[in-house]
Symmetry: C2
Subunit: 449 residues, 2 copies
């Protein structure tokens, strides 16, 4: 069934029986991938042959524009099946991505209960634990026996995604402990849940940021985490499969911000030209204007340039090396902050470390430069002076770039700005201006121009 042509043939020939039996043997993620490649009309035909619950799984795996095109072609009854069969967290993700008209159309087809649950979710802050959680989990009471717990799991387990961690709550829905199916299996059937449950809980809250939640999973190797509301009542759980997506999303966001773009989690090939341009233009304009100011510095040294035009030859090397050094240190610090390995209070340690790295790296680069200038332009006093001006500026630039790249992300973090903003593009611009200023100032003094 992995053969795309064969699949299209079955659709064209309306061999729906064959199609259904073939396709349900394939993993839902693979069926979703097949649907992405079909035309909208064929996609609907294929989608319609899928059994209800399977169709919902496939639907959850589609990109939002494909979901939209399907919804536009499905009947009201079919939309009802989709929205009711979807796991709540998938339904919320889907509704969030739809334009308001489609979202309303879908919500109006759903039962009142589903609609209310989805609407409650939509009120949580963007990218918070609340939006990532599912409300389907196994709930136990302290005074149940292990045998009763197994009965409960057997009763409700078939409609619930994650059953391996069970949550023990009191009558006020306060979380009292957790017990895993492993604990249950390794206990006697007569034992009481209250005696075997683990009360050493790792909990998150509905408005905690998803990045923070992912960190808890990483640190404690969790499979799921309970989510409580502002009154500390258990309202849902987040499962590890959603956390991997969060980790990737957050990394993608950082990559984009660090390359001076407005972040977007839409895949590149699915994003149109206007949107790509829009995500890029704001920062480009800002940085271009900043670079014009750097250019303005050169204007004040027009006479020096006219006197020794050779100086201009070193501008690209100074600018690029400064930019690259700044990119290196800022990347290390931004990533360290994202992984929670570096905190704003480490700032002194980082300045000291980057200064020494800058001295070492800048020293080596300056040495190479000095030799290269001497070898290229011959060994007279004038060349020696130029070589000295270039090499000392280079050393200064590398140290400055390292330190600025090290501290700006920390300052941003302290001011609750995303540290990723303080990446190469911004740092390059800051460092460029100062390095050119230093370059021509030293040049004017040493070369007496």
């Amino acid at each position: 069934m992995n053969n795309h042509d064969e699949l299209e043939k079955l659709i064209d020939e309306k061999q729906f029986q064959l199609l259904r039996s073939g396709v349900t043997e394939v993993n839902s993620a693979d069926v979703a991938a097949m649907i992405e490649k079909l035309s909208a009309e064929k996609a609907v035909l294929l989608f319609r042959v899928l059994p209800k619950d399977y169709a919902a799984e496939v639907f959850a795996d589609l990109y939002s524009d494909t979901q939209k095109s399907l919804i536009e072609r499905l009947s009201d009854a079919e939309i009802f099946d989709v929205i009711e069969e979807l796991f709540l967290d998938d339904a919320v993700d889907f509704i969030e991505e739809m334009p308001a008209t489609i979202a309303n159309k879908v919500l109006n087809r759903a039962t009142k209960e589903t609609r209310e649950r989805i609407n409650r979710f939509l009120k949580y802050p963007e990218n918070s634990a609340g939006t990532k959680m599912t409300v389907e989990y196994i709930n136990l009471k302290k005074d149940m026996t292990v045998a009763e717990a197994f009965d409960r799991i057997r009763n409700v387990g078939s409609t619930i995604e994650t059953i391996y961690t069970c949550y023990v709550t009191d009558s006020m829905r306060m979380l009292k402990g957790v017990v895993t199916v492993k604990d249950l299996l390794l206990s006697n059937l007569e034992q009481v849940i209250g005696d075997i449950m683990d009360t050493n809980l790792i909990i998150t809250h509905t408005d905690t940021d998803q990045e923070e939640v992912a960190r808890l999973f990483e640190k404690y190797d969790l499979l799921n985490i309970p989510v409580t509301d502002s009154e500390n009542r258990l309202v849902g759980i987040i499962t590890v499969d959603d956390v991997i997506d969060v980790v990737q999303e957050e990394a993608t966001e950082d990559f984009q911000i660090m390359a001076a773009m407005t972040p977007s989690d839409k895949p590149y090939l699915k994003t149109n030209v206007a949107r790509l341009a829009k995500n890029r233009i704001t920062w480009l304009i800002f940085l271009m204007v900043a670079a014009m100011i750097t250019g303005g510095i050169l204007e004040t040294f027009e006479e020096a340039i006219a006197a020794v035009p050779l100086l201009v030859v070193f501008i690209p090397m100074l600018m690029d090396t400064g930019g690259n050094s700044g990119a290196q240190s800022s990347t290390m610090i931004i990533r360290g902050i994202a992984l929670d390995e570096i905190k704003p209070r480490d700032i002194i340690k980082i300045i000291w470390k980057e200064t020494r790295v800058g001295l070492l790296v800048g020293g080596i680069l300056s040495g190479i430069n000095f030799l290269r200038i001497w070898l290229t332009y011959g060994s007279n006093t004038d060349v020696f002076r130029v070589a000295f001006v270039v090499s000392s500026t280079l050393l200064f630039t590398v140290i400055l770039a390292n330190v600025v790249g090290g501290i700006l992300p920390l300052i941003a973090k302290k001011c609750k700005i995303d540290p990723a903003v303080m990446a190469a593009p911004l740092i390059t611009t800051v460092v460029d201006a100062s390095s050119l200023l230093v370059f021509f100032t030293i040049a004017k003094i040493l070369l007496k121009i």
Copy 2:
């Protein structure tokens, strides 16, 4: 027990009984974090009071330099306990990070069986599924009943980390199917495993790259995946908690490569100055030499610069904007390749898309530039000409940067080079040279110099 001072006080006062009871109530990851902050001597004292199996969990969570310092201070009997209690995958990770002398010392203390198992693991290629897998999993036979399966889980479950997916193998250790504890719980005790097991398997191989394995987890929302050897026998499983670490490691590696560094997964604050400098210097030298060549281009236009020194003012703006545009497109493509959303065969689509984005973005930037030059330098024909030279070079530079940034990562991927190498630093250097060449060529023609 979270209070660091209180903890140190208990250690200083040698209140080992109190320490032991207090510390084992804390999560092992938190105890590891406490140990990281203690002096080596105190760390050993705290480590020694931990119960054996708990100590192994804590040990697995320590950074490798702390592991090393502990091992150096533990007795042979204590080292034996650690290595024997560690889960095999954690033991392998630990041994891999140790210098050869320490690794040998530890392996010599272990039982022959443990030593052989670890040595077998060490032979798998770096970052392959083989190095990430654990050999502890639940193995069932096709003709077992559900009741027998539960018995087996109860018998071996306490020493195994992951029990929720059970693997059904034949006498040749060939994997025939998987059955989850959920399936078992929802089946009758008399049912036969062969009838309820899932034969639609997602499998990986010992030498598959860990990034590929992570993709399977993401795509199919797995909790674990079976790993087979070259003869298709089941040899281990990989669990989802290790996959989150893989995803973060791979992202960190890409961040570092994209900022022109030799990647290293050692945390920044734990890396010494010499190592940080070493990771950064190679690329900096290479890129500096490349930028010198760009500078050489300027040398050939020395006369033009002497005639119209104003031209120099626009160099930083052209270089920075080209670099930033290239960073944007290359980041989108590199990340798209990493997430498996973009493939080398998409190259034509990407050239076409980036050309249009470049036209749009470059057009807007050029317009702003043109206006700015006119407003700053007055509106005579000479200024108009300069403005035209700068703006058209800018448009050319942005389109070129977008297209080069779009295709170089794809070409790298095709040539089995890491696409992340083709990021901002390299692209900036390539684009700089051509944009300066175009700038002065157009200038010479239009300004007749």
